[in-house]
């Protein structure tokens, strides 16, 4: 069982769901590690965005309010932290702010950039998992350390009864294993 293969299998499974869409930069083009895991996702499910991280997260929440389950992708944690206004102030607080009426389900993929064989440097390889976890109240956060976890966690993120959103942190360095 390989890490990247499990990501591909999970995305293929999610891609077969009627209400999912894959949103971010380099969804339909090559560009980063996450792009390479979408090869079995139907092209019509991929929604290519400009570089606008915060807007992307808010758009993902808005899509979820309209009944979609967006899989919103951030290829590096360093880029993901640009979304914090939408992630922490809105998506994470929406159930409380709507007295439980609004339960947008967003599946958030965040990759920690690899340092080998090329070191992306301090702006491309940070892992802010602990900091983000400490800020969350509603959103679930899962770290994908092992290939065995991957499919099960994506399945859970899509099917969980409480409709909570999930951040799934993955490691680009594991893609070759």
């Amino acid at each position: 069982m390989r890490y990247k293969d499990e990501l591909i299998r999970s995305m293929e499974w999610l891609g077969k769901k009627e209400n999912t869409m894959f949103i971010g930069q380099a969804m339909s083009y090559s560009g980063h590690t996450i792009s390479s895991t979408l090869e079995k996702v139907p092209v019509e499910k991929k929604y290519e965005l400009p570089v606008l991280e915060e807007l992307q997260m808010g758009m993902s929440t808005g899509l979820a309010l309209e009944g979609y389950v967006p899989i919103t992708c951030y290829p590096r944690f360093d880029f993901f932290i640009l979304t914090l206004n939408q992630t922490i102030n809105h998506l994470d607080k929406m159930q409380v702010m709507s007295n439980g009426e609004m339960k947008p389900r967003v599946i958030i993929r965040v990759a920690v950039g690899a340092k080998e064989p090329l070191n992306g440097g301090v702006q491309h390889t940070q892992n802010h998992t602990d900091a983000i976890r400490s800020m969350l109240t509603e959103i679930n956060l899962v770290v994908l350390d092992e290939p065995e976890q991957i499919f099960e966690e994506f399945q859970k993120a899509y099917e969980r009864d409480d409709s909570k959103s999930t951040i799934l942190v993955e490691y680009s360095k594991h893609y070759g294993k």
């Binding site: 869409m21 400009p50 606008l52 915060e54 807007l55 992307q56 997260m57 808010g58 758009m59 993902s60 929440t61 808005g62 899509l63 979820a64 309010l65 309209e66 009944g67 979609y68 206004n85 939408q86 102030n89 809105h90 702010m97 709507s98 007295n99 009426e101 609004m102």
Partner: protein, 210 residues
């Protein structure tokens, strides 16, 4: 002064009068000053006519996104007065949100804009007739996130209508002074009106002992 783009179509009559809106805020003011509301409130006044006119263009099924000052918007979009009143009394003046009524308010400047863009994209993808209305203040209008979103909405022809409510204030800071702005340049396809709010940014202007 109000400007509504010609492309918009009036879709309904609004059954609330300016007096009913003013009276509602007066009830909230009274409760706040009595110390019965455990959270900040942001009251509206002097923009009743403009909002009634704008909501004649907003279908009850449309989405409405707005800010912390949202009581008028909530009433005009069909949230029952009793529900709104109870929400405010429970300390939710700034988030009188309702999924049933497609209504979302946020207290973060500009925070509603990305949500509105995504909701409009979702509506368009579903070939829905639903529109999305996003009410922002004149300081929010000047932020980068507005321009990013405005460009995206325009380029992809999303069913999102921005409304700029200009009281030339951000809390108590005049927007034109903070930006050294000589005049506001709101695009022609954005609804725009200017008014002078009859209440302070939050509260009623009276010190309240809780």
């Amino acid at each position: 002064m109000i400007r509504i783009p010609n492309k918009l179509e009036r879709v309904r009559d609004v059954d609330l009068t300016p007096k009913e809106l003013i009276d509602f805020e007066s009830r909230i003011k009274e409760q706040y000053e009595t110390g019965n509301i455990p959270s900040p409130i942001h009251l509206s006044k002097n923009n009743e006519g403009e909002l009634i006119q704008i909501f004649e263009y907003i279908d009850k099924d449309d989405w409405v996104f707005c800010s912390w000052r949202n009581h008028y918007h909530a009433l005009l979009h069909g949230i029952p007065e009793d529900k709104l009143y109870n929400d405010i009394m429970d300390g939710r003046s700034m988030s009188t949100n309702s999924k049933e009524h497609n209504f979302y308010a946020s207290s973060i400047v500009g925070g509603i804009i990305p949500l509105a863009v995504g909701t409009a994209l979702g509506a368009k993808m579903k070939f829905s007739d639903k529109k999305v209305w996003c009410f922002i203040g004149d300081m929010t209008f000047e932020t980068g996130i507005f321009y990013e979103a405005y460009k995206y909405v325009k380029n992809f022809d999303l069913p999102l209508q921005f409304v700029v409510e200009d009281n030339n204030l951000s809390v108590h800071t005049p927007t034109d002074i903070a930006w050294n702005r000589k005049e506001i340049s709101v695009p022609d396809d954005v609804v725009y009106y200017k008014y002078e709010n009859g209440y302070p940014h939050h509260g009623t202007g009276m010190w309240v002992n809780f």
